[in-house]
Amino acid sequence: MGTATLKKTFSHGIHPPEHKAATVESAITPLPFPPGLVIPLSQHTGAPARPIVEPKQEVARGDKIAEAGGFVSVPMHAPAKSTVAKIGLALTPSGAMTPAIFLKVDLESEQEPPPEADSAASNALTPEELVAAVQETGMVGLGGAAFPTHVKMLVPKGKRVDTVVVNGCECEPYLTTDHRVMLEASEDLFTGVRIALRATQAGCAIIGIETNKPDAIKALAKAAESDSRIRVAPVKTKYPQGAEKMLIKALLKREVPSGGLPIDVNAAVFNVATLAQLGRLLPRKQGLIERVVTVTGPGVERPGNYLVPLGTPVQFLLDHAGMKDTARQVILGGPMMGVAIASLEIPVTKGVSGILVLTDKELAQRPTKVYPCIRCGQCIQACPMFLNPSRLGLLSRKEQYAVMEERYHLNDCFECGCCAYVCPSNIPLVQYMRIAKAVNRERKTAK
């Protein structure tokens, strides 16, 4: 099938400047191996992985070094031929120290190439076997949330998936990884989509792509002609179009209930980068050992889309891309939902889609003074989840965290940042939501 012509979208949202021009033309280039890799055992949502290697042990590229710590967990694989230096604590983007496997990379010898694909074998798997095979690859959502992919592929009893939604929106400003993957790895992407269709037993798949990527829409629509189950749908360029609930709303006109999951409206959403990696890894029985990262921003001399071995310290990546002296802030992810990091020793993990480096100039432009809420209601107009960020922010300041959750649907907030972006008083609304969520989480575990 061809492409639809109507621009589909959701209500509310914003349109921040895109800033994608710096990297959109640059092809994915492999990063050289750093001397040391750090593999945190908990870089996904769910239980941490359990290490199965000992210090001083030698591992080959792609070897499993940690096994899944439960069903909602994934194994870890060695991104390079290396020696296990130690199993100790490493800094994560959240600022906490978590257990990690430290690898000393063997830079002398050749890194072995990935094995050949065996599509026939993977095509013969039943949906259950397929889910288990997906877990073995260590795949998690590469869009940023790092939720284990196999968990989304397992359809619970009594539920069904009729449509696989493939997320190629990439609505975050600055980031171009998904765009490049769609252009350069479309074959892997379609293999991945077919795996998702088989695992979920869904009848069709829709690839949603924002209209600011006409080349990707054209290329994938042409490729989709060969498979009647898969079609490409352009969606309006608007933030946060790439949030799964917004994309479902735009493409299927269905609303995920408050506190619910896409499965509640018979849909499953996967990122294009996730499915493209899966389409490459699964037939080869390989683990996830590298990912595409957009390194960009005014603080970088050579912005681009790099294929980065997982566990590479941010410092090494930025040295390679050339960090300017004026660089002042490093953000993992995009400017809207990414997190500023406090140390460059932090490794690139499975969920890191971009590294944005800002300079003094951008930071100086940012208003610092916070004014009182003037009840203008712009945040309410912007919130894609139809929440009342103004009220939530005021309640958070008064430490009414339980009320926020019980009466104002705090947990439906996915921290997209639209409210803080439009706020004329510069109220750090997202930060207030995060504080409330953190305190509520703490109180629940304390009980």
Partner: protein
């Protein structure tokens, strides 16, 4: 105006009033709940801060528990000794023993000795800063110094010193635990006031890794464990851990050879006392 209507209206209101007041009088008799007058008297003699340190929901609840005989007067750690005596006298019970406990901070890394890897800009509370890359301090465990504990303390027992480190006033602290809950890095814990030997660090890394982050961090060298009385101090997760069951064995001896000053003696008058070696090392650092 018709005088008859006036009298009828007046008479009706009077009759209604009489009926309703007799209903109220009957209800007052029938539905009367006896409340021990001593509860009010006891409550008068409590601090009225509703801090919850006694384990009850507030001072009123504690007063009720006292009159019911479930608790002893000294279980309120915030109360004055003479009030405790007065309550015991009023109720004719034993005052019980008041175990003075205080909040202790397991960090000595003020901004004069601890390094930071980034500058945090945003909502100026520890809780908010912790969520952004841990707050920018090089030590992931360390005190961020925005003073959430000071803000939450109902007894003004915590003040931030000039190095942005909270100082607990032993006399004012009632061990209500508000700071324990408020600290996002979980640095506060409640201890009997006679626990004087103290490890003011939570960093679980070792040696040079720790020293890069903070000059007064525990590097897990184990010298204190060697110098202290048998079994008093053990090294766990590269941190000295004091076994307070053997607190009577604690002495100043254990802190003398600590190279960084992570293990201290908390003197009531002088504040934390460091060992000689640590004092020398810090003086050298200041000079260099």
């Amino acid at each position: 105006m018709d005088p008859v209507a006036l009298f009828t209206a007046g008479g009706l209101m009077l009759g209604l009033g009489l009926i309703l007041s007799s209903v109220l009088a009957a209800a007052n008799k029938k539905l009367h709940v006896f409340e021990d007058p001593r509860i009010d008297q006891v409550e008068e003699m409590l601090p009225g801060a509703n801090c919850g340190a006694c384990g009850e929901a507030g001072c009123r609840a504690f007063a009720e528990a006292l009159v019911a005989g479930r608790v002893s007067p000294a279980q309120c750690p915030a109360n004055e000794p003479q009030n405790i005596e007065a309550i015991a006298h009023l109720l004719g019970i034993d005052a019980g023993a008041q175990h003075k406990r205080v909040a202790r901070l397991a960090c000595a890394g003020g901004n004069n000795v601890a390094a930071s890897s980034a500058t945090y800009r945003g909502v100026a509370t520890c809780r908010a800063a912790t969520l952004i890359g841990g707050g920018g301090k090089s030590c992931a465990w360390g005190c961020l110094g925005f003073g959430d504990c000071m803000a939450v303390c109902p007894f003004d027992a915590i003040v931030m010193n000039r190095n942005a480190l909270p100082i607990v006033d032993e006399d004012k602290c009632t061990a209500c635990g508000a700071c324990v809950d408020a600290c996002p890095k979980n640095l506060f814990s409640l201890h009997p006031v006679d626990h004087r030997l103290w490890v003011a660090c939570k960093n679980e890394l070792r040696g040079a890794e720790v020293r890069r982050a903070c000059a007064v961090a525990c590097i897990g060298c184990g010298l204190c464990a060697k110098d202290a009385a048998e079994g008093l101090i053990a090294i766990e997760n590269s941190l000295a851990r004091i076994d307070y069951d053997k607190n009577e064995l604690a002495s100043l001896e254990a802190i003398q050879r600590c190279p960084t000053g992570a293990i201290v003696w908390l003197d009531k008058e002088k504040g934390p006392i460091l060992g000689e070696k640590a004092i020398g090392a810090l003086a050298e650092r200041k000079a260099g």
